[in-house]
């Protein structure tokens, strides 16, 4: 016997909502501008600015002679942070990942027991900054040498002077390189922009869409059909995620092919970035549900949403690495979820981290998700 009436399928209804919602998003110019155009503009702008006020991180090999003139002069050069507490192996590991710009080793020179030998180790990961460090050191070495020659020539003993020229220079610079990847500005900027575009699209998009669906009674009209409420949310969320991931793919694609953004394992790295983006989107959409629930009018959505997004924009390593903040500010940065999205995206793209390697970031994000969805259940309003 044939069943007369086919059982109602919520998934078919959900798919219909997802399709309609997706079409609606793609026809909304602001969705496209905020999700794709803005991040690209930032990437272009920051991709070309290399910054005048660069901070450099330099590792000092343990056991270096810190009594020499070059070290003393070098240690007061502004904008250089010294890492003195690590072993050589740890220093080299950081250098290869671009977290250090150069490693320096200061030794006493055997020549006349006075000046020093400076050894500089650079990697590909931080090319530009390494050149900076090197030129500073070269400068100091040259000054030291010139001073030494002058002191010799004033002794008017030309034999001594000649001998000095023929043999060792008083201060010498030896250089060696270790292999590592080239870390470019785009490798820092793109993941940050991607993370922020995910945050803002999820918060603003979700808040506006659910507020307006509620106000214009679209949701109420849906309630009069057999679809159940969670499937309406799932359909809407699904379309938002698909749209945002398409946007992220465009950003990664353009970043990679136009700006030479590093994707260590190629396509697989891009896919892992998208998976992490999806997790970030789901967590951040929770903020959107809360905002849509507490907003009393459409006009207050942007200010409330900005309270959620702007601090994270500035504090979560979108533009500046959070290491450059004072310690107390870093604690705040490390409490915010976008930090973990940005951090994880950079680790995946540049260090080739797998999803297992960023389990710490994923766990923090899931914890945030639990907290924010608990709030969303409390504040979200259907009518």
């Amino acid at each position: 016997m044939k069943q007369k009436k086919v059982k109602y399928n919520q998934l078919i209804a959900m798919r219909a909502v997802a399709f309609a919602s997706f079409r609606s998003i793609t026809r909304n110019p602001s969705a496209i501008i905020f999700s794709i155009a803005f991040p690209l503009i930032f990437i272009i702008a920051f991709g070309f600015i290399n910054g005048n006020n660069i901070r450099m991180d330099v590792g000092i090999v343990p056991g270096s002679d810190t009594t020499g003139m070059i070290y003393k002069t070098f240690s007061v050069v502004p904008n250089i942070d010294h890492e003195t507490k690590l072993t050589v192996k740890e220093l080299e590991d950081r250098l290869s990942k671009g977290r250090l710009d150069a490693i320096l080793k200061f030794e006493k020179n055997s020549f006349q027991g006075k000046p020093e030998v400076v050894e500089i180790i650079t990697g590909k990961a931080s090319k530009e900054k390494a050149i900076f460090v090197k030129s500073i050191i070269t400068n100091l070495v040259d000054q030291q040498n010139i001073a030494y020659y002058k002191s010799l020539s004033t002794k008017a003993d030309s034999a001594d002077y000649q001998r000095a020229l023929l043999t060792n220079q008083p201060t010498e610079l030896r250089e060696s390189k270790i292999s590592g990847r080239e870390y470019k500005m785009i490798d820092f900027i793109l993941p940050g922009q991607l993370g922020f575009s995910i945050l803002s699209a999820a918060v603003f998009g979700t808040a506006f869409v659910f507020y307006s669906l509620r106000q214009t009674l679209v949701l109420k009209r849906f309630f009069a059909t057999p679809i159940r409420r969670p499937y309406i949310i799932l359909g809407e969320a699904l379309s938002r995620i698909v749209f945002q991931l398409l946007g992220a793919s465009v950003i990664i694609f353009i970043g990679h092919y136009v700006f030479d953004f590093t994707l260590i394992h190629g396509l697989w790295t891009a896919i892992e970035m998208l998976l992490l983006s999806a997790l970030g989107l789901i967590v951040f959409m929770g903020f959107g549900f809360v905002v849509s629930g507490i907003a009393k009018s459409e006009n207050v959505i942007p200010p409330i949403a900005n309270i959620v997004t702007l601090p994270q924009f500035l504090l979560c390593g979108t533009f500046f690495p959070i290491d450059s903040f004072p310690k107390w500010l870093q604690y705040i940065s490390k409490a915010l979820p976008l930090t973990y999205v940005n951090d994880a995206l950079r680790k995946i793209a540049f260090e080739g981290a797998g999803l297992m390697d960023i389990s710490h970031q994923i766990i923090v994000l899931i914890l945030w998700g639990v907290v924010i969805y608990a709030a969303a259940v409390r504040f979200f309003r259907w009518e």
């Binding site: 109602y8 078919i12 909502v17 309609a20 009674l217 679209v218 057999p226």
Partner: protein, 254 residues
């Protein structure tokens, strides 16, 4: 329960905190009729309708729709009714075709989109976005979405409010057509001329109670029998007839 009753409402009560919006309403709607709920604003028309439509919880009372209990199986009721809400909207950026696809999905059914749009006089508008439609077109489209699941009953909440005389009259024709195709229609309005022309029976609601229920003719006859007389002599035409004869009866917003 009469065998031809498709909706049975018994002792329906709805309280919003202190306010008694619906205060013990009992009525039945017969299969195939146009049933009107009349009354001033705030009388409880929309609340009553939305409870039957499964959109609002009732405080107490019993409701059967086509023999299905509202308490037991609201989702089964949703599948056999079509609902047009006061002031409801749709995704503004979607075309009418796309919106019909959406509702077909929501009802797990398929729809002949051109045929459906032709039924409500929007056959040329399939590729237009919802947001560019005029008020009358939006109302007609809204009615089209109520017909997608071939419902046994459609509920229309003030469908003609804010429309011009041509659009109103054309909507009446559409509503009669729906009834003539075998669908029961429940409509609310506060236009008495509309109720008189459209409705087979009307219930007049005041302060959450039904104060009168019969066919429009019966109610008028009863009033005349009680000795009522119109003060002004009725002419053979009114101003609306003048307006329509001057401006024509066709849709003005095609």
């Amino acid at each position: 329960m009469s065998p031809s009753a498709i909706i049975v409402v018994e002792n329906l009560v709805k309280h919003y905190r202190e306010i008694k919006a619906v205060n013990g309403i009992t009525f039945s709607v017969m299969k195939g009729e146009i049933f009107g709920l009349l009354g001033p604003n705030g009388a409880g028309k929309t609340t009553t309708l939305e409870i039957i439509e499964t959109l609002r919880e009732k405080t107490s009372g019993n409701i059967l729709v086509n023999g299905i209990s509202l308490d037991e199986n609201p989702n089964a009721i949703k599948q056999i009714i079509g609902v047009q809400l006061q002031a409801a909207n749709y995704y503004p950026n979607l075309t009418l075709y796309e919106l019909l696809d959406l509702f077909a999905g929501l009802y797990n059914t398929s729809v002949d989109k051109d045929n459906m749009l032709a039924r409500v006089g929007l056959e040329t508008r399939g590729k237009s976005k919802y947001k560019i439609l005029s008020g009358g077109q939006k109302q007609r489209f809204s009615i089209a979405t109520t017909l997608i699941n071939k419902p046994l009953i459609v509920f229309l909440d003030e469908p003609t409010t804010g429309l011009d005389p041509q659009a109103r009259r054309n909507l009446w024709e559409l509503i009669k057509e729906i009834r003539d195709n075998g669908t029961t229609v429940v409509i609310t309005t506060h236009y008495m001329d509309e109720a008189e022309i459209l409705c087979d029976r009307v219930a007049i609601i005041e302060k959450g109670k039904i104060i009168s229920l019969a066919s429009p003719e019966k109610l008028i006859d009863d009033l005349i029998a009680s000795g009522f007389e119109k003060i002004k002599e009725v002419k053979k035409a009114n101003l609306e007839d003048v307006f329509l004869s001057l401006t024509g009866r066709e849709w003005r917003d095609m």
